[in-house]
């Protein structure tokens, strides 16, 4: 059960981040945070296919995390999340075509290690 939940956290979570980034980049930069503008933003995101799949995938990942935290410690849940920093940096490079130099790689790896250490 625990490992099923870990898979349900990592896989949909990773897919969600990639899809949401694609969707939000296509939607354009969000600059206005007044309530009316946010409602318009939500309305336009509801018609954005990337975000329409990405946000539910994020919800699956989130509910799986909720369920896991109710039966296991944070130190069991976090290592998988730590690994996803490196995984998502690789996906950002190859799928999202982001320019990732040594600073981003080193930064993502250090952050992943740091998150692991914090979970011990």
């Amino acid at each position: 059960m625990k490992w099923l939940l870990i898979a349900l956290i990592v896989i949909p979570g990773t897919i969600a981040d990639v899809l949401n980034t694609m969707g939000m980049k296509r939607n354009g930069e969000v600059a206005d945070f007044r309530p009316r503008a946010l409602l318009r933003l939500i309305a336009s995101l509801a018609r954005n296919p990337y975000v329409v799949i990405g946000v539910p995938a994020m919800a699956v990942s989130f509910f799986a995390l909720m369920a896991l935290l109710s039966i296991a410690n944070l130190s069991f849940a976090v290592p998988a999340t730590a690994f996803s920093y490196v995984l998502e940096t690789a996906l950002a490079k190859y799928i999202l075509k982001e320019g990732i130099g040594w600073r981003r790689w080193a930064g993502a790896s250090l952050v992943g290690c740091g998150v692991l250490l914090l979970a011990t």
Partner: protein, 137 residues
């Protein structure tokens, strides 16, 4: 709103949201169930409700952040939330922050420092921008 402000909003709503959610869920109890009713019951708990509201704020600010910067920039930079979560937990429980945790915090600090020294956005801005988001600043 500046990108830095959005990052702060993402981190703060994430930390406080997760905190109230986990506090609330501990009071609700075991939650591995395929029946939606158990989840609805959990949502009715005040701490859980506050946590969910904060996580909605987190979702909107996270999406806004992703509309402006690279995923590979946003992820490491917002990991400061792990540091705040760890420090908050340990201070609230009046525990000393262990050496291993301090080392972890240093790793994250250096990692975030490295990433912030890169260009936040390396992908081109597409021309399919919808009118809603083109507000002049």
């Amino acid at each position: 709103m500046k990108t830095g402000t959005v990052i702060v909003l993402v981190v703060v709503s994430n930390v406080l949201g997760n905190f109230s959610l986990s506090r609330g869920l501990h009071q609700v109890g075991r939650l591995v169930s395929f029946s939606p009713w158990r989840y609805i019951q959990a949502f009715l708990h005040p701490m859980v409700a506050v946590g969910v509201l904060l996580l909605i704020v987190w979702l909107i600010s996270q999406l806004s952040l992703l509309s402006r910067v690279d995923l590979s920039y946003a992820l490491p930079v917002t990991s400061v939330s792990y540091v705040l979560t760890a420090l908050m937990g340990e201070f609230l429980l009046h525990e000393q922050v262990s050496t291993v945790h301090w080392i972890g915090i240093c790793f994250i600090g250096v990692g975030v420092g490295l990433v912030t020294r890169t260009l936040p956005r390396t992908t081109p801005i597409t021309d399919e921008v919808q009118p809603c988001c083109e507000v002049a600043q």
